[in-house]
């Protein structure tokens, strides 16, 4: 069953055609990676899905419902959640409070405290719970924001470059986190430049280039595709 479906989605910024007739179907339960060169329009596509931008034309539906005209918070409440490219944690608040704010619409009292503890352990942030989120390392901020995103128990988790700034070990750990979430039933759409991560998690890969869907397939098909190598992976491996 399709969880998310984009039909002929276009987005213009003035004369700039950033998203060009994108058609994309995300199946319930898959981990799907979105790759492509810098400026391909990947983050913009996320913003369209989240309702931060509205498409110039086209339609977006989620779980069978047309959400094209919905406000962002309403889309979140229907089961979307996101980790931004630039970590959007609440810098002046403690790590614990960051998670509390994400969880409090679902839980309260002792159940809330327990779920925060569970998430802290899942994110390897036990020791940092009293710290200001702004003082975390870049990788820890990424984890904290992933934690806030999954605290909502979303049906679809959007991750924009979740491993940027992480060491190879941390990247691998993040991959394992994503796989565990997926095993528990969460559908994931991740933008990534790190091909080791993509290989670790992706069941399907879509390549975006100049705002268009350039190629789609399994990771092996994509890596073997010479056209993709020419526009993106060639440079990435160089």
């Amino acid at each position: 069953m399709a969880l998310l479906q984009l039909r002929d989605v276009n987005k213009h910024f003035g004369g700039l055609h950033v998203t060009n007739a994108v058609n994309l179907v995300l199946e319930q339960g898959e981990i799907h990676c979105l790759i492509g060169p810098n400026g391909a329009g990947k983050s913009t596509l996320f913003r369209l899905i989240l309702g931060e931008h509205h498409p110039s034309s086209g339609q977006i539906s989620f779980a069978g419902e047309d959400i094209t005209a919905l406000k962002s918070f309403a889309r979140i409440r229907r089961g979307l959640s996101v980790k931004f490219q630039v970590p959007g944690v609440f810098k002046g608040l403690s790590v614990r409070q960051n998670l509390e704010i994400a969880l409090q619409s679902r839980l309260s009292g002792a159940a809330l405290a327990k779920e925060i503890d569970r998430l802290l352990a899942f994110l390897n942030l036990d020791a940092e719970q009293a710290q200001m989120a702004g003082n975390l390392s870049h990788g820890q901020k990424q984890w904290l924001e992933i934690g806030m995103a999954i605290a909502l128990k979303p049906r679809l988790l959007l991750l924009d470059e979740p491993t940027a700034g992480m060491s190879p070990e941390e990247t691998h750990m993040t991959g394992e986190m994503v796989r565990r979430l997926n095993a528990a039933g969460m559908t994931v759409l991740a933008i990534e430049h790190d091909m080791a991560f993509v290989r670790q998690v992706a069941q399907r890969v879509t390549v975006l280039h100049l705002g268009q869907v350039f190629a789609q397939g399994s990771i092996d098909e994509i890596v073997a595709d010479e056209r993709v190598a020419a526009i993106y992976l060639g440079q990435a491996h160089a």
Binding site: F73, I76, F84, V89, G92, Q97, I101, S108, L152
Partner: protein, 354 residues
């Protein structure tokens, strides 16, 4: 019952300084001191102290909207004025019997809240934020001042109440408690002192509970990162609007109390100077904490009054210098800085002792 108890637990939390028996013992001590103070003073001095207390509500409103919510509003003085004038118009027309002054107080505060709801709706649902919010609210404040200043003619009257232009309105009845032996009129001395003190304590505790609740969490989240807050499923415009309305009601309460204290209100209470002074108290105290805001406001206000004795023009210059110094030395507020420094010292002592 458990719901009621959980409210008390919210008196402490990450959004407010002060917790544990030591803090509440100090709070009780200060309160006891404030309660006993009129016994050791004269009516005139006590009345003067009420004047300081009156301003604390508008300072708290700024702490709420700006310090906690992250939206700088110059509109607080407008709500101050709206409520002050409303009280005057109502009581001059309907008098003070049957406890009407208290109803007038509520209606006047409600008027400020209503106008804030209308203005706030257009601002927040029109996604006006940051500097633009400051500009819009300042424009509203100055427009209101200009408007009231030109109401000198006899045609500017609402019922029996003349608006009186630049000279403002005066001789409205003070707050009056109906009583068996005859009404108790709260002039600016001991009686009004206790009433305003009680309001102050109630508002302070209520705001502590509010800010440490789930609602308060969302408010500070919006200050830290509105996009992230919305992407956690919160309709942030609604939260901003509610905060703005509560803030306007508090500023309105200041306005009414100011009006009953001196039995007058003038357009200059909404002018540029009036709009910037509360910003200075709150910035100097520490806008992101209720307690620091109150201490800062009382200290700076009494300092300001002491200075005016030597010449008011210097007092204003001094205020400006104080603001610049705060921004340079302790951008989060001088009082807040000192409190944080003491807390650090105490915890270090404790750790060394352990």
């Amino acid at each position: 019952m458990t719901g009621f108890l959980s409210l008390f637990r919210r008196l402490e939390g990450p959004q407010t300084l002060g917790r544990g028996p030591a803090f509440w013992a100090l709070f009780a001590l200060v309160l006891a001191g404030a309660l006993a103070y009129p016994l050791f003073s004269d009516g005139y001095t006590v009345g003067n102290t009420v004047y300081f207390f009156v301003w604390v509500f508008i300072a708290l409103s700024l702490s709420l909207i700006w310090g906690y919510g992250g939206s700088l509003s110059f509109g607080q003085t407008a709500f101050f004025g709206i409520a002050g004038y409303s009280y005057g118009i109502l009581t001059i027309n309907f008098g003070a019997s049957y406890g009407f002054t208290w109803i007038a107080l509520l209606l006047a505060v409600g008027m400020a809240a209503l106008i804030a709801a209308l203005l706030g709706y257009f601002m927040f649902f029109g996604r006006i934020a940051g500097v633009f919010l400051g500009i819009v609210t300042l424009a509203v404040t100055l427009m209101l001042e200009r408007f009231m200043a030109q109401t000198a003619g006899p045609e500017w009257r609402i019922g029996a109440a003349r608006l009186n232009g630049f000279n403002g309105m005066s001789a409205m009845p003070p707050l009056t408690i109906p009583w068996f032996g005859g009404p108790i009129v709260l002039f600016a001395d001991v009686g009004l002192y206790y009433v305003v003190l009680a309001m102050l304590v109630l508002v302070y505790l209520a705001l502590r509970i509010l800010m440490n609740s789930a609602f308060g969490n969302v408010i500070v989240a919006i200050r830290e990162n509105p996009e992230r807050a919305e992407m956690l499923g919160y309709d942030i415009r609604k939260y901003q609007l509610i905060t703005f309305v509560i803030g306007a009601a508090l500023a309105g309460l200041s306005g009414v109390l100011y009006t009953v204290w001196g039995q007058y209100i003038t357009p200059s209470s909404m002018g540029m100077t009036a709009a910037s002074l509360p910003l200075i108290w709150v910035a100097v105290g520490g806008r992101s904490d209720l307690t620091a805001t109150i201490i800062g406001t009382l200290v700076v206000l009494s300092g300001f009054q002491a200075l005016t004795i030597y010449g008011s023009q210097y007092a204003l210059v001094f205020m400006g210098v104080l603001l610049v110094l705060t921004v340079l030395i302790a951008p989060n507020g001088l009082v807040l800085g000192v409190i944080n420094w003491i807390t650090k010292l105490v915890t270090r002592r404790k750790q060394e002792a352990a």
